[in-house]
């Protein structure tokens, strides 16, 4: 029997915060409050394919990604990646996983090449320049940016380097946390094409958190809709539209999301930009 890429059983995660009441004296410690990010989540994802996670801010998407990336430990339940437990076998999990987050995490003074060499060494790959250039060009980045400091690159270019870096380390599970948020339409298209190409070239499992309904519909075989730390719906884009599309003719994932939550992701995105 094949080991699932992701196997989550009853995972719960809450964060404790102390918020001082307005006007309270500075020496008085505020009582802690738990904010639940994930409620007893169960999830299985088979190896191969792209699974999308759609949800507004605070829905638990990033918490889920961080738990799978061994950056957070669940309060209860178990999470396994290719059979390895994210807490007790964290090192083995990390050998199979890479992550692209919404904020490109780089040494900004270093060039894409220097950042890529660093990543290649950490993951035990040779940082061959021709391969790095090939990946970058595949993502639509001109070859001459490779030696410029990252801080001189646009946000879109930085994000493409982040994606190229994850491709270079050949992960079996790629966690993508809103990788195309803030990119121009052309860059978005480049990233999506590169992802499809990667999937065609070798077996890789991708967990893609996105706000972009069209992106999810185009790339994902399976979509999970989350809100308030719970999975509200799970299925292929077509299935979700059939099951939860409401009375609309030819419903979209946006309609499904509105039907399930009473919110629009677009409004959530605008709110995020405003804050």
């Amino acid at each position: 029997m094949n080991v699932p890429a992701i196997d989550i059983q009853g995972v719960r995660k809450a964060f404790r915060r102390r918020e001082r009441a307005a006007g309270a004296p500075f020496w008085k410690r505020a009582a802690p409050k738990d904010k639940v990010a994930l409620h007893e989540l169960d999830l299985q994802v088979e190896a191969g394919g792209i699974t999308g996670i759609l949800g507004p801010n605070g829905s638990g998407k990033s918490t889920l990604i961080r738990i799978l990336g061994t950056l957070l430990t669940p309060d209860s339940g178990t999470a396994r990646v290719f059979g390895w437990d994210v807490v007790t076998d964290a090192l083995q999990v990390r050998r199979h996983v890479n992550r692209v987050s919404v904020e490109a995490a780089f040494f900004k003074e270093l060039s894409p090449w220097e950042n890529m060499v660093y990543a290649a060494r950490l993951y035990g790959y040779a940082g061959v320049r021709s391969r790095v250039v090939e990946i970058l060009e595949g993502l639509g980045l001109p070859g001459d940016v490779i030696d410029q400091p990252m801080k001189q690159l646009s946000r879109g270019q930085q994000q493409k380097v982040a994606i190229a870096r994850s491709f270079l380390t050949a992960p079996s599970l790629l966690l993508m946390d809103e990788p195309t948020t803030g990119l121009d339409p052309r860059s978005k298209k480049d990233v999506q094409s590169a992802l499809e190409k990667l999937r065609a070239e070798r077996e890789i499992t991708v967990l893609l958190c996105t706000h972009d309904m069209d992106e999810a519909a185009a790339l994902c075989e399976r979509v999970l809709m989350m809100d308030g730390g719970r999975v509200l719906a799970d299925g292929s884009p077509d299935e979700l539209c059939r099951r939860h599309g409401g009375a609309n003719s030819g419903p979209t994932l946006e309609d499904v999301f509105m039907h399930l939550t009473g919110k629009t992701l677009e409004a959530e995105e605008l709110e995020e930009v405003a804050t």
């Binding site: 964060f15 404790r16 961080r66 990336g69 061994t70 950056l71 957070l72 430990t73 090192l91 990390r94 050998r95 996983v97 890479n98 992550r99 987050s101 904020e103 995490a105 780089f106 040494f107 900004k108 003074e109 270093l110 220097e114 060499v117 660093y118 290649a120 060494r121 950490l122 993951y123 035990g124 400091p149």
Partner: protein, 277 residues
């Protein structure tokens, strides 16, 4: 399998050291400024010793010996504090750059990560201290006629070991408190300067500070190097000091890794690894 893993860890160790080298290359102007500052600090200490004669510290007072005593303190402090702060800032630096989650997701042992940072710090610290030493020798007529360099080098090498352990323990602070941890690293560095006999013998300190000095590895490193440079103590004479330093390292490095692992688990439980803290 084990050979493969060791190969991976060795590659990652070099990767961390190489990354630090790239970072320093990009910040080379800063490094020139810091080098200038180190030279000026050491020269100030040298001239302070020269000026003692004009303050009436004559008679049986050996000014040249005092000058060498202070210069050794300044130079060794320059090297050891650089290694200490580099390792202690391993996490703080990642927080500034926003790479902490990326680094903590890498498939490498934390020991490899921290040792990679220390490896670069040692090489860089030695190179910078050598330049400062050359300038100090050129300006002051330093008397090395009694010096035993074999004894000096063996103590210098041994002193780095416990210092790395101490630095790893300090690097935990930004993991425990993302907002205040960096400043606390400076406080630890300042306290080491106070109690380790960098510029004066421990005997001038109040008893509680003397006690703190006896558990600081820098105290033994400085005393040992002064014995070699001022009194000609050879490698054989330095074996007890080397033993103490390595013994302290054998306790401090595993303890540092243990405490770091605990702090990392805590940070993952409380969600403290995020960039914003």
């Amino acid at each position: 399998m084990n050979v493969g893993i060791s190969h991976l860890e060795a590659g990652a160790l070099l990767g961390f050291a190489e990354r630090q080298m790239y970072v320093y290359k990009r910040y080379w102007v800063w490094e020139v400024v810091w080098l200038f500052y180190s030279i000026v600090s050491v020269l100030s200490i040298g001239f302070l010793a020269s000026g003692l004669g004009t303050l009436g510290a004559g008679g049986g007072f050996d000014l040249r010996r005092a000058q060498l005593y202070l210069l050794v303190g300044a130079l060794l402090w320059g090297y050891l504090s650089l290694v200490f702060m580099e390792a202690a800032y391993a996490i703080a630096w990642e927080r500034w750059e926003g790479t902490i989650e990326y680094t903590f997701m890498a498939p490498v042992r934390r020991m490899t990560h921290l040792m990679g940072i220390c490896l670069f710090a040692i090489v860089y610290g030695l190179a910078r201290t050598f330049i400062v030493l050359v300038v100090a020798i050129a300006i002051f007529d330093v008397d090395f006629s009694h010096a035993n360099f074999g004894g000096t080098l063996i103590v210098l090498a041994a002193s780095t070991v416990p210092l790395i352990g101490l630095a790893i323990l300090t690097s935990v602070l930004p993991l425990l408190s993302p907002q205040k941890g960096e400043q606390m690293s400076f406080a630890v560095q300042g306290f080491l300067l106070l109690v380790s006999g960098v510029y004066y013998p421990l005997s001038v300190l109040p008893a509680p500070l003397q006690l703190a000095g006896t558990i600081s590895p820098l105290t033994y490193a400085l005393a040992g190097m002064r014995r070699s440079l001022l009194e000609g103590a050879g490698m054989g004479d330095q074996l007890p000091t080397v033993g103490i330093l390595l013994g302290m390292g054998a306790v401090l490095i595993p303890l540092g890794i243990l405490v770091f692992s605990w702090a990392e688990r805590r940070a993952k439980r409380l969600g403290l690894l995020k960039r914003s803290g």
